[in-house]
């Protein structure tokens, strides 16, 4: 594969069999390796799409500052796109994000505004909304930007149809809903019977702790009708599955990928036949400091539960 520019190297990620992790031979499990993107996550796809859409619409000009709330991956992806295209970028991120995320953002020249970690990504969204009252800022806002699901409709979803036309199930993590909406709609056009399944993190008490139930956040781009099922996955189950990926298939992926695999195996157990695609959103690099692969599993699960792993 040859590209004129790093931004042209985004997408077209490998779809690899992970059959050793399937509960039965008649159900085939596949992993879409989004960690193979230039900054190591699926967010490269939407970062490029959101910026290029805003450029085309005339919304984004060189005098504006790009501002985005994120738990990390979208910020890092935007940092690459902003660096390449010459924009100034500010990222609002919870202060319990891993050290690796901070280093990667700094490496690409992004400025970081920290929001309270105990308020999670919802807290980062609140801070960015207040800052955005200043018209100098351009906020792509991945939670409400149609270019987010559209990048997955045109890219990720189309690639899966091309590589595995027999796909029966698609499982991905729910963060903004962009992946599930975009890929889900594309796969349903190909085959209306495809099942679309979400995995959600069961975050630590700290993240939920101070929030009242009225303060929950549902991203504007999320349409619950696109999903068939949704599972809550705890840090311990996500961690075990993340380790299984590395130990049994040699796939080094992040913790949300473990949550996706956990949900996929739960679905696979009740199937007779099927081709289940697991969307592995990022590689494991940014989680090394959590000792997810090395510490005693209970200690590691506890530590992961206290950090921002989604």
């Amino acid at each position: 594969m040859r590209a004129d520019d790093i931004l042209e190297a985004i997408g077209d990620t490998p779809l690899v069999g992970i059959q050793r992790l399937s509960p039965k031979p008649s159900v085939r499990l596949w992993a879409k390796l989004e960690g193979q993107n230039p900054t190591g996550s699926l967010k490269d796809r939407i970062a490029r799409a959101m910026i290029e859409r805003a450029e085309a619409d005339g919304e984004l000009s060189p005098d504006r500052i790009v501002l985005e709330p994120t738990s990390g991956n979208t910020g890092i992806a935007l940092a690459l796109v902003a660096r390449r295209k010459g924009y100034r970028l500010m990222v609002v991120m919870p202060d319990n994000a891993s050290e690796e995320r901070v280093r990667l953002l700094e490496l690409y020249g992004a400025e970081i505004v920290f929001s309270p970690g105990d308020l999670g990504t919802n807290g980062a969204i609140d801070v960015a909304r207040r800052m955005a009252e200043d018209a100098r800022y351009f906020v792509p806002f991945q939670y409400g930007n149609p270019a987010n699901p559209d990048a997955h409709y045109r890219g990720t979803g189309a690639e899966i149809v091309r590589d595995l036309p027999e796909v029966t199930h698609f499982v991905a993590g729910l963060g903004t809903g962009g992946t599930l909406m975009g890929v889900g709609r594309r796969l349903r056009e190909h085959n209306p019977d495809v099942q679309v399944i979400a995995a959600e993190p069961e975050l630590g008490e700290l993240v939920y702790g101070l929030r009242s139930l009225d303060e929950g956040f549902v991203p504007p781009i999320f349409d619950e009708a696109v999903l068939d099922r949704k599972f809550l996955v705890g840090a311990d189950d996500a961690l075990r599955a993340t380790r299984d990926l590395a130990e049994r298939e040699g796939v080094f992926a992040g913790l949300s990928s473990g949550a996706v695999l956990h949900a996929a195996r739960r679905v696979a157990e009740s199937l007779e036949h099927g081709d289940v695609v697991c969307l592995l959103a990022d590689g494991g690099w940014k989680y090394l400091s959590t000792e997810a692969w090395t510490a005693d599993i209970d200690d590691a699960a506890k530590r992961v539960g206290e950090t921002l792993w989604w």
Binding site: K43, T70, S71, N73, T74, G120, T121, N122, I125, Q142, Y143, G173, L174, G175, T176, G178, A198, E200, P201, E202, L203, E205, V207, Y208, G209, L210, R211, S212, L213, D214, E215, G216, F217, V218, P219, E224, L227, D228, R229, K230, F231, L232, V233, G234, S256, W310
Partner: protein, 91 residues
Amino acid sequence: MSVQVRLPTIMRSATAGEATVRGDGGTLREVLDDLESRYPGLTRSVVTEDGGLHRFVNVYVNQEDVRYLGALETELTDGDVVSILPAVAGG
């Protein structure tokens, strides 16, 4: 039917700090009604005034979101675990 209901921190003021309480009923709605009768005000932020599920709250039975099962009419069996959590974003 007797089930376990796991509550987020914010709801525990109504249960004297208990994180997990027992609930009785054959459906999720019956269990929430049972809890409301024993812990007045507990389910106010879960069930809307017209008897639906609040948009910003997720309820799971054995880790599966009830919106994709039977919502408040989801049937429960002995030993099921119900979890109530605020909706959170990622990305």
